[in-house]
C-alpha cells in the first residue's frame, strides 16, 4: 500500500491546478456559466491541449494511458473550482462505455476526437420512471432492415445539448426490469427524431430531457453486444461514482478552506468567530468528514476496475454512501458556519453545496446504496 502520488501524478496535479488557477476564479466561472453553452469552449480546448481529455484512453487512440487514480486526482482539482465543462459525461461516462464495449472501429473513430477536444458526448441512460434502477429501461430499439429504430425518452442527461454524440440505452428484448435485453447505441445528437428540452441544473451546469422518436441507427452504431448493455452501464456508473467521489473531495476541501478563512475574518462579539470553540469543533468535524470522504474516494478508485464483480459492487456501494454523506455534512456545515452570506447566490459556498447535492444523487443516492448494502447483511 502506498497512498502517495507518484512524481508524474504530482506533476499532473500541479499543471492542472496551475491552469485552473488562471482560468477558474469564481468570477470567471460566472462568465462561463453565462455563455450559451453553459461552460467555456476555450477552457475545454485547454483541457485538450493539456491531454486531460485523453486521460483514461489507451495511447494507441491518442490517449494519455491514465489510470483511475489520475482521473481521481484531476476530478479533485475540478471539484475545487467547480468545473462546468462536460468532462464527466464525455471522458468519464461515455469514455468508459467506449473503453469497455467499443469495437476497434468505434474507438478509432471517436476516442481521438474526444482527446483532441472536437467531440463531446453525453450518456443518455436514465429514465424518469427508473429513478436509480439501472435495469428500468422502457425506451425501445426495434429491428428495421440493417439497423434499429429507437423510441422513448431519457431524463436529466448532463450536458446533452453540448454533445455531438449520445450513448443511448434501449430495450432490444426482455421486460421493463430485466437485466438482459438492454443495448447501447451511439446516436448522433442531431439525428432526425432526437429532441431535447434543456434546462439549468442546480449545479449551474446544463442538462436536458431527451425524446427519441423514430430515430434510425445502423448496426455499426451498436456499442457492445446486443442485449448485454447492462454490464457496460454498470461499469460506467462505477466510473462515475469514483470520479465524482474525487470531485466531492475537492469540493469539500474548497468549502473547508473557505470556512476556515471566513472564521478568521468574521468578527462577532469583538473577536473572530474562529476563536469560539463551538465553531472550532464544527470545523474539526468538517475536516474529519473530508478525510473520511477522501478515504472513500480512494476506495472507489481502487475498486473501479476490480474484476470481482460482487466485491466491486459492494465496495462501490460503501464508497458512494460514505462520500455522499461526507459531502452533505460538509456542505450543510459550510453554509451554517458562513451564516447569512452563505445563503447568497453571489457567494461561492452555496454553489459547492449545490454541486455536492447533484453529485449525491447521480446514479443513486446514499439511501439507495445503503439499501443495497443492507440486503447483503447476514
Amino acid at each position: 500500500m502506498d497512498f502517495e502520488p507518484s512524481d508524474d501524478q504530482r506533476l499532473l496535479v500541479e499543471s492542472v491546478t496551475r491552469m485552473l488557477g488562471d482560468t477558474y476564479s469564481f468570477a470567471q466561472r460566472k462568465g462561463y456559466q453565462a455563455l450559451p453553452e453553459g461552460y467555456s469552449p476555450a477552457v475545454w480546448a485547454q483541457f485538450a491541449e493539456q491531454g486531460l481529455l485523453g486521460l483514461p484512453f489507451a495511447e494507441e487512440y491518442g490517449g494519455f494511458g491514465g489510470t483511475p487514480q489520475e482521473v481521481m486526482l484531476v476530478m479533485q482539482a475540478f471539484g475545487r473550482v467547480l468545473v462546468l465543462e462536460p468532462f464527466l459525461p464525455t471522458v468519464v461516462l461515455c469514455g468508459t462505455a467506449l473503453n469497455v464495449a467499443g469495437s476497434a472501429d468505434q474507438k478509432s473513430a471517436l476516442i481521438p476526437a474526444i482527446a483532441e477536444g472536437s467531440l463531446k458526448m453525453a450518456f443518455a441512460h436514465s429514465e424518469r420512471q427508473a429513478r436509480y434502477d439501472l435495469t428500468d429501461v422502457i425506451t425501445t430499439a426495434k429491428r428495421s432492415g440493417n439497423g434499429w429504430v429507437l423510441d422513448g425518452s431519457k431524463t436529466v442527461v448532463s450536458h446533452a445539448e453540448a454533445a455531438d454524440k449520445l450513448v443511448v440505452s434501449a430495450r432490444t428484448g426482455g421486460d421493463r426490469h430485466d437485466a438482459d435485453g438492454i443495448t447501447l447505441f451511439l446516436v448522433d445528437a442531431k439525428a432526425p427524431g432526437v429532441a431535447m428540452r434543456g434546462y439549468v441544473s442546480r449545479d449551474d451546469s446544463r442538462a436536458a430531457d431527451i425524446s427519441l422518436s423514430n430515430v434510425s441507427v445502423s448496426d455499426a452504431d451498436v456499442l457492445g453486444q446486443v442485449g448485454k448493455g447492462l454490464a457496460t452501464i454498470q461499469r460506467v456508473v462505477d466510473a462515475a461514482i469514483a470520479a465524482t467521489a474525487g470531485e466531492t473531495v475537492g469540493a469539500m476541501e474548497a468549502m473547508n478552506e473557505m470556512t476556515l478563512e471566513y472564521s478568521k475574518t468574521r468578527v462577532q462579539f469583538g473577536q473572530p468567530i474562529g476563536t469560539y470553540q463551538v465553531v472550532q469543533h464544527r470545523m474539526a468535524d468538517m475536516f474529519m468528514a473530508q478525510e473520511q470522504g477522501r478515504s472513500m474516494a480512494i476506495l472507489a478508485t481502487m475498486s473501479v476496475d476490480n474484476p470481482d464483480e460482487a466485491q466491486r459492487a459492494h465496495d462501490m456501494a460503501l464508497a458512494k454512501v460514505g462520500i455522499g454523506q461526507a459531502g452533505r455534512y460538509v456542505s450543510q456545515s459550510a453554509v451554517q458556519m458562513h451564516g447569512g452570506i452563505g445563503m447568497t447566490e453571489e457567494y461561492a459556498v452555496g454553489h459547492y453545496f449545490r454541486r455536492c447535492m447533484v453529485i449525491e444523487r447521480l446514479f443513486g443516492d446514499p439511501a439507495y446504496y445503503l439499501n443495497k448494502l443492507a440486503a447483503e447483511v447476514g
Binding site: 478525510e291 473520511q292 478515504s295 447483511v377 447476514g378
Partner: protein, 401 residues
C-alpha cells in the same frame, strides 16, 4: 500510488491469522467470543505465546526484541489480533513504556526493563491523571522531592487502569514546583508498585468491573536511576508516549468483531415474529456501520503508510486524532448495536450467581458481556485525550487556529 495490499502484505495477514488460530488458547478464545474482556491470566499467557514467537513487542525495533515490522504490518497484526478475538497486547508495556525507554531510556534501564516488559514478567500501569489533572494533564500536582539518590514522591493518581495487577508504574511527577511554565517542572519516573507508601484503591466502573484505581503515594522513595530522561523534561517523554499511543487507538478490529457478534445474535433473536436479522432498520444500521468502518480502515492505512514513508521521523500525524475520534465513536456505536440486539437479555449481570449455575447459557452470557462492553466503552471517548480534546488538537494542528 498503489491502493492495494502487496502480495507480501496479504501473505503476512494470512500468516498472522493462521498463527493466532493455531495458538490462541481455546478457553481464552471462547470467553472472548462471548464478549468478555480477557482475564489477567489470559493476557499474560497470550503475551508470552506471542513473545516466544518474536511478536510480543510487535512495535519495537529488532534490536530490542521486536520483529522490525513496517507500520502496515503492525496494523495488520493488531487488526487480526482484535478480530480473532484475542487479548490485546498490554498497551502500557508495549506501546507506551517500550517506545519511551527505547527513545529516552539509559542502557541500564533498557536492558533491565524491556525484556521483562515484552514477556509481561512485569505488568506496567500508567500514573498520569490526577483528581485535578484530567484533560489538563500539565496541571498535575504529585510531587517528587530529591533526597540524596532518591526522589520522595507524595500525591495521588486516579483512573489508573490495572494498577491492582501491576508490578510497576510509570509516573509523571512535579519535580520543580517553581518552573516558569507548568510543563517544564515535570519528570518521568519508574516506580516499583511494591515500594512502601503506595496504596491502591479500586474504583468500580459502571460495567461493574474493577479496571480503574486510585493510587496514593505517601513518602514513596524512588531511586534517581529510575528517572527516564532529564529531570524536569518529563513532559517531552509524556508527549512522545501519547503520540505513540495514537497509532492503534482506533481498535477497528474490535468494532468489526462486535458487529460480527451482533449479526450472529440477530439471527437468533425474535423481532416482531421474525428473526431480527430480517428487520430492515437493523440491516441498514449494520450497513451504515460497515460504511463507517471501511472509511476508518482506509484512513488508518493512510496514516500508517505515511508513517512508513516518513520512516517514523515525522511529527504525529494530525489524522491520528481522526482515528481516535472516529475509532472510539465506532467502538461505542458497535457495542450499542450489540446491546440493542440483546433486548431484555441485556440487563442481567453475568456474575457469581449465574456463573455458579454451571449450566451453559451462551445467549444470556453473551448478552450480559455485550452490555458490559457497551458500558465500559463509554470511556473510549474519554481516555487517551477526550474526543473534545482531539478536536482541539485538530483545531490547532490542521486549522491553525
Amino acid at each position: 500510488m498503489d491502493l492495494r495490499f502487496t502480495p507480501e502484505e496479504l501473505a503476512f495477514r494470512e500468516e498472522v491469522r493462521a498463527f493466532i488460530r493455531d495458538n490462541l488458547p481455546a478457553d481464552t478464545r471462547d470467553r472472548m467470543k462471548l464478549g468478555h474482556p480477557p482475564r489477567k491470566e489470559d493476557t499474560v499467557r497470550w503475551q508470552r505465546i506471542l513473545n516466544a514467537k518474536g511478536w510480543g513487542a510487535y512495535s519495537w525495533p529488532k534490536e530490542w526484541g521486536g520483529p522490525g515490522w513496517t507500520a502496515i504490518q503492525k496494523m495488520i497484526f493488531l487488526e487480526e489480533n482484535l478480530m480473532a478475538p484475542a487479548p490485546e497486547l498490554l498497551s502500557f508495556n508495549i506501546t507506551m513504556l517500550g517506545p519511551v525507554l527505547i527513545q529516552f531510556g539509559t542502557d541500564a534501564q533498557k536492558s533491565r526493563f524491556l525484556p521483562r516488559a515484552a514477556n509481561l514478567d512485569d505488568w506496567w500501569c500508567q500514573g498520569f491523571s490526577e483528581p485535578g489533572a484530567g484533560s489538563d494533564l500539565a496541571s498535575l500536582k504529585t510531587a517528587a522531592k530529591r533526597d540524596g539518590d532518591h526522589y520522595v514522591v507524595n500525591g495521588q493518581k486516579i483512573w489508573t487502569s490495572t494498577a491492582h495487577n501491576a508490578d510497576w508504574c510509570f509516573v509523571l511527577v512535579r519535580t520543580d514546583p517553581n518552573a516558569r511554565k507548568r510543563q517544564e517542572g515535570i519528570s518521568f519516573l519508574l516506580v516499583d508498585m511494591k515500594t512502601p507508601g503506595i496504596t491502591v484503591r479500586p474504583i468500580i466502573s459502571i460495567d461493574g468491573s474493577h479496571h480503574l484505581n486510585e493510587v496514593f503515594f505517601d513518602d514513596v522513595r524512588v531511586p534517581v536511576e529510575n528517572r527516564v530522561h532529564t529531570e524536569n523534561k518529563g513532559w517531552d517523554v509524556a508527549k512522545y508516549l501519547l503520540g505513540n499511543e495514537r497509532t492503534g487507538i482506533a481498535r477497528l478490529g474490535k468494532s468489526r468483531e462486535r458487529v460480527t457478534a451482533a449479526v450472529a445474535m440477530a439471527k437468533e433473536v425474535n423481532f416482531g415474529g421474525q428473526p431480527l436479522i430480517q428487520d430492515q432498520i437493523f440491516r441498514q444500521r449494520v450497513a451504515q456501520l460497515q460504511v463507517d468502518m471501511k472509511a476508518l480502515e482506509i484512513t488508518q492505512y493512510r496514516v500508517v503508510s505515511a508513517y512508513d514513508k516518513a520512516k517514523g521521523a515525522g511529527k504525529p500525524d494530525p489524522l491520528s486524532s481522526v482515528l481516535k475520534v472516529k475509532g472510539t465513536e465506532l467502538l461505542q456505536a458497535t457495542t450499542e448495536l450489540a446491546v440493542d440486539v440483546s433486548g431484555p437479555m441485556a440487563t442481567p449481570i453475568w456474575a457469581q450467581e449465574l456463573e455458579a449455575l454451571n449450566e451453559p447459557d451462551d445467549m444470556l452470557e453473551a448478552s450480559s458481556a455485550g452490555t458490559g462492553a457497551y458500558l465500559m466503552l463509554r470511556a473510549a471517548s474519554i481516555y487517551g485525550g477526550t474526543n473534545e480534546i482531539q478536536k482541539n488538537i485538530l483545531t490547532k494542528a490542521v486549522l491553525g487556529l
